[in-house]
Each structure stands twice: as C-alpha cells, then as structure tokens.
C-alpha cells in the first residue's frame, strides 16, 4: 500500500463514521489569508454548505469571520480547480502563453519531477530553487511542508513568493527587538495607537480576525486610533484622525518624534533603556563596543558604584545611559547618549517639509504618545505585576516596505523603546506570543526568547530563526558565490532574482550555478513582486518548473511544466497551519487556542495533501531521512535555540520512517498535548484551549535580554560588506550600515528631480475582501467587492484629478519613467493624498481564474527592482513608483 493509500485508509478509520452523518460540523482553519482564523464548517450530505468562526475560541473573531473566509466555501466547488496532474505541451514559456495543459497520471508527474530534481542535485543542489507563499489554500504549509523539503535537498532559498509588501524590515526588526515575526498592539488594554501603514484590524494578515475583534472592542471603550497613511479609506476610516503623509517619509516623522520626546519633552522610560536595551553598552571613538580585553565582552558603567563592568557582571545594578567615561583607556559613552545627541538634528519643521505632515501635528503626536503611555506605571494581573504602557506606534506593510525600510522601521520602534511599551501590558506585543511556558498537563509546547550572545535578545521559536538571516546573532558575510540572493554578501538582506541587474551581478560573481529546477507552492511570483516581465526574464531561463496548487495562476500557466493538484483546504488535514506559526497564536491575554485544519471530506478528483506529495517525492529523490529530520526538528521545537542545546528531545518522526501525513499529525498532537489529545480528540472536540499567563503575554521583564537600539554590528561589518559587494558590482550608500538609526530618503525622492513630470506616487493597499489576487476569482467576493468604489479602480485625489482634467470614471494611464504602463478606471476620492495614487493589487489574466480576469489593476507592473530599489539591510523592495497620469478614455 503506498503512502497515499495508507493515508486514505487511516482517514476512513478516523473520520468514516463522522462522514456518514447527514448533518455535522467540522472544525478547521481558514486559509484565505495568513491570519488562519479558526472556523467551523457545516456539512450536509457530505457537502460543505456554511462556514463561520468559532465562538469559544480566541483564535479569530470568536464566532465571526471576514467575508473572504465565508466566501471561500465556493472555491471548494469551483469548476476551475485543478483535480488531476497536468503537463505543459506548449514548449514556449512566457507571460500570456497558453500552456495547453494535458492530463497525466500522478506516476508520470512525480517520476518526471523526481528525475529532474535528482539530475539537478547531481550537478549542484543549489540549482534547485523554490518559492512559496501563505497562498490561497496553502496556509503555512509553504513554510513547513514545502520549504523544509527544499532545505533537506540542499536547494537554494525561496525566491519571491511572499509578495512585494512582505515585511523585510518588519521581520528583521521584529526578530531583533521582539523575538517575533512582527508586532501587534495589546488592544485589550491599549488606549492610544498611532498606526502607520498596514491594514491590521481592518483587513487580512496575521491575527486578522482576532485583531478586528479586539480593536473594535478597544475603539468602543475609547481607545484612540490615529492613522498616518497616504490613503484614508482603509483602516484610517476607523480612526479618530487621518494624517495624510507622502509614502516612504514616515522615517522623518518618527525621528522628529523621537527627538521631541528625548530632547524637548524629556519624559521617556529610562529604566527600560537601562535594563532592556544595548543603550548602555559603552561605545568608543571607533563607534564600536568597548570590550573587556581578555573576554571581549561589552562593557557598561555602573552608576551604583562607579565601576566599569562586563554586561553579565552579577553586581551590575544601575548601568548608565548617559555621560562620558573612560574604559580600557579610551573615552566612551553609552550608546543611548549617542542616540540622544544624534536625534537633535531631526526637527519637526524639517520632517514636515519632507512628509507634508504639519509640524504642529508632529509635535502634538509626540506629546500625546508620552501622555498616554503613563511611563512608570504598573498594573497587577492575576497577582502578577507588569509595567503598564497603554500607548504605541505600530506599522507594517506599506510603511515598512521601502528602500529605506530598516532605518524607517527602527525609527518607529525607537519611539516604542522610549515609551517602554514593548511586550508589556497595553503596549506593543510581538505578534503571536513568543513565549510559552508549556501546555499545563505535559509541559511541552514550550518555547521562550532568551538573552544570547552578548546578552542580546534571541528568538526561541524556530520559525523566526530559520528565516536564516533575520534574527540575532547577525550573519557574517561569506560570499559571493553561495547564494543567488546575495545574502552571503549583504548580511541580512537578500536581493531577488527578479531584479533588473541580477544577471550582471551574478555574472560578476562568476555565475557559480544556474537554475535547473524551480518549484512553486501557493504563490504567484509573476504577479506579486515586480513587473511580470522581470519575473519572466528569470523564469524563462529555468529548464524545468513545477507547482503544487489547487488553482492555476499566471505563474503556473506562463512557466510551469507540471502542475500537481493540491487538495483544497476544506479537504486537508494539516497541523502546521496552527502550530509553530507563532504569529497567529492569540495575542495578549487571549487564551492559547490550538486548532487543527481538518478535512470536511476526502479530496476530490485526484487531489492530494501536500504532505503526502512531498513525502512521496522525498522517497523518490532519496532525501526522506533529511526531510524527516527537518520536519521532526520543526515539530519538536528542537531547533528553538533554547539556552541549553544539549537537552535530549525525543523524536516524533524517526529518520527512515515512511510516515503518512495523517499519522504524523496524530503523533505531533500527542507529543505536545498528551496521549489522549491526538487526532481523534480534535475530531470530537475541535480544538484545545488553556489560559495564558501574564508572564507569557507580557514576557519582556521576565527575561534577561537586551535589544539593539544601536546597531554595532553594522559598524563592525560595513567595510567587509562593502568590499565583497563592490567587488561584484554593488555600488550603494554604505552609510546605511551605521549604528545609529538615521534619515535616508527613499530612492523615489532622489532618482528624479522634484519638478519631474512623474509627479504622482503609486501605492498599493489591502482591501477587506481581497488578499492575494486569488480572491478576485471568487464570484461571491466579486459580487460584493464590485460595489466597493475603491477595489477595482485607481484611486486618485479629487483635486489632483481636476488639475489633470480627469473625471470620475475616466480610463487613465499611469506611466513610470522607465516607460512601464498600466491602465484602469479612476475613482476620485477625498481620502487620498494629492500626490498619491492608490491601487488594490489585482489585474489578473490567467485562464484558470476566469472570474478575476481583466478586473482591477496590477500596480506591480510598474515596479522595477534593482540594487538601488531595495533596502540593503533588510531586503524590503521599494514598491512605490513615481508616475505621470493621463486620460485615455472618457467615461461619458
């Protein structure tokens, strides 16, 4: 019996009786965005007919569910689903090419794929590259099931996939400062949120259902929401104040606010800086840490006794945050003193000129944040005292995805540091809870951040650490030649293969290897990163490409040789969507809620579970042992980099086992939650929930670890990075690698003159019914979204439209200075900055997604990335483009 047959037989053993009932509910997890809210699905005569949230669970909206999750039910019945393997018979590859699919058997499909993989591995495993995204029905299987296969194979890191807005800086700084994927306000207690870009609490994304619920309740009880954003019709519409701003200029406002707080208002959380940041590490004239000569440990000055001590000295009591001292015979100052002085240059009037946010508004925001933060206050929860700081600045997506993103994002978080609100009650939390003290009955399911190298905060949960280069300690450069994303040269940043100058750079590096096989899961790299032509240039070069998807898209049709049918998420048993993906664990004091994606029915047609497919491929390719080890590491949290790496951690999956998906899920559940809480228990009870402790929700002051507010590793590594990178043709502003968060204008303000005819800035924004282009293919979503004036149209300021002779409903063209164009219907709105054009990223053409064809606009078609258009510290692509707009057809 092969692995698939084993799985099906076991499925019938476990779910067979249930499936015979006429009318029953199944607990599962939504997959229409990476919020992965808990759902329950009503099944009548074996057919899913209704879906809603789970009222008793804190994972999601406690019974509510967004429109995407509800509408997703129809996708199960979509006649366009891929139900059997297909192969391309049109040898030409390219955007808009018709693949002319031919149905083939699973044997032929897997044999072909395995043959190609083996041949590529023989040449060089790095010639196998992959891509994934938390796709429309893929959930987080991309990160686990798919990605670990390619890691086990020795393949190259994922290319693109997650999309242009995906948070390079957010994840990097999230890992460094929060030991988390990113951040979310503690809505239960927060009284004031300054939100800068990002649609969390309004649309999709991690914790989406929960944050909508929490934020709505918070606003109802009086939480003030202020939104700084180039457009005001998404989350800003919920707030008390919309503060329009030019894209990519938030950095100026943040630095000015930081300056006001530290150097004018003078009220900030000194104890937080003293005990929780590297603001106390002594910096010498060379801008590096002053270190103890014998041990190399960084040094502090202890105000309590006037001595210089190492960072881990047990007598250290009152490390200084200001002043001048002598250590190792050199004059030195605490890093915070440098930060404080450095901020003085960033004045509100200066920031106003750059951002168009009035200087008085900047001053007022600084004052409001300080007043609302109640610095110094404490709250008692369940007998545990924690700091209480009910004010925060939060941002994601649009704000942090720019060419200056690292500095912009650290500038934002500097404000949170000054307020002392990180991972304390009412403040800003690492989303998903980075710390678990364990499931009460077993003690397993345990992870925690800790103070690692040089006492710096180090992530506990593995997903962040295996992001590769994002978390502490910093990566050292070793290349070029090992990575075609150049992160072996740039450190934490990666430059995508879809950039305009990638070929030249790779050639300069000696073209160490070339792509042989490309595997994509859940994503749509042709559409969701840069202009399709740039993706096409790379993908055309790949001799063999394959995908595992439930639906076709522009990437599969244009470039894949074989597409395998993945089961729809309502047919899927999957634990990784609920588990180990830390950013969706309920935040703050919401209860731990462990759910499972459970099938409503067996897969239709010949569709298969992704885990079974990858297990099968692992066997064929000969990497089962490594793959099992990778999955086992993941599910046991073995690589969580706990302080004691020598602790014996029992296995869930033995190296040579041909374990099926369903068996694996059962074992994982029992491993963490006990023998009585395996798959059958979840089948009958739906989910598991237990109370969260304040020491978990608000862990910051319970862990002895510091975060960087001075990035000494940048000072240390700058010359080495510059040397290696310039050797292969990177010519960039290496001043970005500075210890002090500083103002750098995004390239969009420097590459063209201020009076350029390309006078508008294109941004893209979320829509509450759209996430991924895939959602536009759902007829129920389309039915309702087509009534929304902002969804399918190009949104432009009313006054700007009038100046340009453009009227509501006209067809216009947006053209960038490279000559790329998009056209669409315009909606004139008062809720858009006059210099901005806002577009929801759509504009599909795939034949396999007919409902979405020709609807909306693809703003990514205007984006060209190269070494000058991405952040060299944390990889964020610059997604804002300057365009000129002109009418091409009147509406009337």
């Amino acid at each position: 019996m092969n692995i698939v047959e084993k799985d099906r037989e076991r499925y019938r053993e476990i779910f067979g009786e249930r499936d015979k009932q006429k009318d029953y509910w199944v607990y599962s997890i939504c997959s229409l965005c990476y919020g992965e809210c808990a759902i329950r699905v009503r099944v009548v005569d074996g057919r899913p007919v209704a879906v809603e949230g789970v009222p008793e669970s804190d994972r999601g909206a406690q019974g509510g569910l967004c429109g995407k999750g509800v509408a997703a039910l129809l996708d199960f019945y979509d006649p366009n689903r891929i139900l059997y393997p297909v192969k391309r018979t049109n040898p030409r590859k390219g955007i808009h090419e018709d693949p002319k699919w031919q149905r083939i058997s699973w044997e032929e499909a897997l044999d072909t794929i395995a043959e190609k993989l083996v041949a590529a591995m023989k040449k060089d495993p790095r010639t196998v590259c992959s891509s994934y995204t938390p796709g429309p029905t893929g959930g987080m299987r991309g990160n686990v099931t798919w990605r670990r296969f390619f890691q086990a194979l020795g393949g190259s890191r994922a290319l693109g996939g997650p999309g242009i807005m995906c948070g390079g800086a957010a994840h990097h700084v999230g890992a460094l400062q929060y030991a988390a994927w990113d951040i979310i306000p503690d809505y239960r207690f927060c009284n004031y949120v300054l939100r800068c870009g990002g649609a969390e609490s309004w649309a999709s994304g991690r914790n989406s259902g929960a944050s909508v619920r929490q934020a709505a309740a918070a606003r109802e009880r009086g939480m003030k929401l202020k939104v700084m954003d180039p457009q005001g019709f998404t989350v800003a519409s919920l707030g008390r104040e919309w503060i329009p701003i030019l894209p990519a200029t938030d950095i100026a406002v943040f630095l000015a606010i930081g300056n006001l707080i530290v150097n004018e208002i003078g009220i900030y959380d000194k104890e937080y800086i003293r005990h929780k940041t590297n603001g106390v590490y002594l910096i010498g004239p060379d801008r590096l840490y002053v270190r103890e000569k014998q041990t190399g440990k960084p040094l502090f000055f202890d105000e309590a006794d006037g001595n210089v001590k190492t960072y881990d000295d047990p007598t250290l009591t009152q490390p200084a945050i200001e002043g001048k001292y002598i250590a190792n015979g050199v004059e030195c100052r605490p890093a915070f003193a440098l930060v404080k002085d450095h901020l003085k240059q960033y004045k509100p009037d200066w920031a106003s000129e750059i951002s168009t946010v009035p200087a008085d508004t900047i001053r007022r925001l600084a004052r409001e944040l300080v007043d609302e933060a109640r610095i110094g206050s404490v709250i008692e929860i369940d007998g545990v005292k924690v700091p209480y700081r009910p004010a925060c600045v939060v941002g994601y997506k649009g704000m942090q995805t720019h060419q200056n993103s690292f500095h912009a994002y650290t500038a934002m978080h500097l404000i949170n540091v000054l307020l002392g609100n990180q991972d304390v009650c009412g403040g800003i939390l690492g989303s998903g809870v980075p710390r678990s003290l364990g499931y009460p009955e077993t003690g397993r399911f345990q992870f925690s951040p800790y103070g690692g190298v040089e006492g710096m905060l180090t992530v506990g949960p593995w997903p962040i650490s295996t992001g590769g280069s994002m978390s502490w300690p910093p990566s050292k450069v070793t290349g070029p030649g090992n990575s075609w994303s150049f992160n072996d040269v740039l450190g934490h940043a990666t430059l995508d293969v879809y950039t305009e100058d990638w070929e030249e750079l790779w050639s300069n590096a000696g073209s160490p290897f070339k792509p042989e096989v490309f595997g994509t899961y859940g994503g749509n790299v042709v559409m969701n990163i840069v202009r399709p032509e740039s993706a096409e240039k790379f993908l055309r070069k790949v001799p063999f490409a394959f995908a595992l998807q439930p639906f076709h898209n522009e990437t599969t049709e244009g470039f894949c040789d074989i597409v395998l049918p993945e089961s729809h998420y309502l047919e899927t048993l999957d634990v990784c969507s609920a588990f180990g993906v830390t950013y969706n664990y309920p935040t703050g004091l919401d209860k731990w809620s462990m759910h499972l994606r459970m099938p409503v029915t067996e897969p239709r047609g010949e569709a298969r579970h992704a885990q079974d497919v990858m297990n099968d491929l692992a066997d064929r390719v000969g990497i089962r042992r490594k793959y099992n080890a990778a999955l086992d590491d993941f599910y046991t949290f073995r690589k969580a980099r706990q302080p004691n790496p020598n602790v014996e951690i029992p296995r869930i999956i033995e190296p040579e086992e041909e374990v099926s998906n369903i068996e694996m899920v059962d074992r994982i559940l029992k491993y963490h939650f006990g023998e009585k809480r395996g798959l059958e228990r979840f089948r009958d009870n739906g989910f598991l929930t237990w109370n969260k402790k304040p020491e978990e929700a608000y862990w910051r002051w319970f862990i002895n670890a510091r975060i960087p507010i001075y990035f000494e590793n940048h000072e240390e590594d700058r010359e080495e990075i510059k040397k290696r990178a310039e050797k292969i043709g990177f010519h960039l502003n290496w001043d970005y690698f500075t210890g002090l968060t500083s103002y750098f204008p995004s390239v969009i303000f420097t590459e063209l003159p201020a009076d350029s005819e390309y006078d508008l800035f294109v941004i893209s924004q979320r829509d509450s019914l759209m996430t991924y282009r895939f959602t536009a293919h759902n007829p129920h979503i389309d039915k309702v979204a087509s009534r929304n004036p902002y969804t399918y149209n190009i949104n432009m300021n009313v006054g700007t439209g009038r100046e340009k002779g453009i009227r509501d409903g006209d067809t216009i063209c947006l053209e960038n200075h490279w000559g790329d164009k998009v056209t669409g219907t315009v909606k004139l709105s008062q809720l858009v900055h006059p210099k901005v054009v806002a577009i929801c990223g759509l504009g599909s053409w795939a034949k396999g997604a007919p409902i979405s064809r020709g609807k909306g606009v693809n703003p990514n078609a205007l984006i060209r990335q190269d070494q000058h258009h991405f952040c060299i510290i944390s990889s964020s692509v610059e997604p804002t483009v300057r365009v000129k707009a002109y009418k091409i057809k009147e509406t009337r």
Binding site: V49, K783, V784, A785
Partner: protein, 250 residues
C-alpha cells in the same frame, strides 16, 4: 414582539462579511443581493469622513411595500418580519419602487456564477434548499427560518447563535445585535436608548426596525438602482461602482 437589529458603526469596519454571509446562508443566485454596504465620503481633503452603512431590509413597522403589493405576496408577520411569498409574487416590482431604502432585489434571470461552466454543486444545492423563482422580488428576511427553528428548540434569537440572523453572528467586529424591540430590557432596546442609535431617514415615515449607533439619520450615502438616487445629500459626493466588476451593476 418586534424583531429588530442594531448596527454599531463605531465598531463596524465595513468588511462586507455580512453581505457575503447572507449570500451564503440563503444560496442567493447571481444578480441578487439582500445585504449591502453603502459607502461615501463627505468633507474635503484632508478633513474627510468615510461613511460606511451596512444596509438590509429594515422590516419597517409601517412598511410602504405591503401597501402596494397587488397580490399580497409581500406581507408582514406579527413579529414584524416582512417577507415575500414568491408563489404569489408576480414580479410587478411596485414594492421596489415604493421602498424608500431600495432594499429589494429582482431575480431577472438564471445566471451561472462561473459563466459558461454550468451551475456548481453549491448552486444546485441552493436551488433545492432555497429555490428562488425567476421573475420575483426577494429581500432580507431577518433569517426567519433560523429564528423559527431556533424558537422551536427553545433557543433565544439574538442570544443563541443558531437562532440569530447570519449577518449578526458572522460580524468579526461584533458590531451587530438582534432582539425584541418591544422588550425594554432587551439588549437592542438598551443599546438604542443608551447609545442614541438612529433610524435611517426617519422622515420617510415607515419606522424601520434597524438602528445605527454612531449613525446619522440623514446619512450621506448613495445607492443607485434603476437610475433612482437615494440618500444623495452632497453635491460633492461621488460614488462609482466597480467599473470592471460583475454584472451586479444593473
């Protein structure tokens, strides 16, 4: 006993989950929508307000529609729910013209959700569970089948999910409430009283059973059906339905 609904616009995020859930709950065919969101803007940049009003049939206490129905298809129950008996409806659409809130939909023809690809199993199931004849008018029914079945089981509408309208239970912001307006102690009655919830366009005189917390009685929202503009109070206001959207824009 008079069933009513309160929608809290301070919590509502305009996500349209209500509209989509209603569509799913009643297997609405293509071209028919019982629950909608009206969107508009007032003010001038940068001092602008976006208005989002989820709307549905108001199940008015004194409905205009029942007075004009020639066949008695449109009728009102004792608990206030207004519904259309499609076996009696002749599709004259006088009710649609008379309704000041334009809450009704006319099912003009059978259309596939995936044009040219046949009806999906979901649509086929819908035609069995919730058949809707071509040529009739339909609208929100406050999920009366959920209410009636729920009461039979001893459940309380507005409290027990199974007995409560689908749009109420699905709201992720928990912005919707349902209950008995004739009971002063019900949650909806208390909310109306304590939060100053308003009815839309009271001046029409039909006494709607749907109230809005944080709403404006003469709400600056626009809907356009059959060329009739309603709620259009501002000459600066523009509203453009999705230009490349579906055939909803009749």
């Amino acid at each position: 006993m008079r069933w009513g609904m309160v929608i809290n616009l301070n919590k509502c995020i305009g996500c349209d989950a209500c509209a989509v859930k209603c569509n799913q709950e009643h297997f609405l065919p293509k071209g028919v929508l019982w629950s909608k969101t009206l969107i508009s803007e007032t003010g001038k940049y940068p001092r602008v307000k976006k208005h989002v009003y989820p709307v549905l049939c108001n199940h008015c206490k004194d409905p205009a529609c029942t007075k004009v129905c020639p066949t008695g298809a449109t009728q009102q129950r004792e608990d206030g729910i207004v519904w259309v008996d499609q076996n009696k409806c002749i599709g004259c659409r006088h009710c649609m013209i008379s309704c000041p809130y334009q809450s009704r939909s006319y099912h003009s023809e059978e259309k596939e959700y995936y044009p040219g690809q046949g009806f999906t199993e979901w649509e086929t199931i819908g035609r069995i569970l919730y058949p809707l004849r071509v040529g009739v008018v339909s609208k929100c029914i406050f999920c009366k089948e959920r209410i009636d079945e729920g009461i039979k089981k001893g459940l309380k509408p507005g409290v027990d999910r199974e007995a409560t309208p689908a749009c109420v239970i699905i709201c992720p912001a928990k912005a919707r409430y349902f209950g008995d307006l004739d009971d002063n102690e019900s949650e909806v009655s208390k909310l109306i009283h304590e939060k100053g919830a308003v009815q839309l366009y009271r001046a029409h005189g039909t006494d709607p059973s749907v109230y809005y917390i944080g709403g404006i009685e003469e709400a600056p929202v626009v809907t356009k059906y059959f060329g009739i503009r309603v709620f259009d109070t501002s000459p600066e206001l523009t509203f453009k339905e999705g230009a490349t959207g579906s055939e909803e824009n009749e």
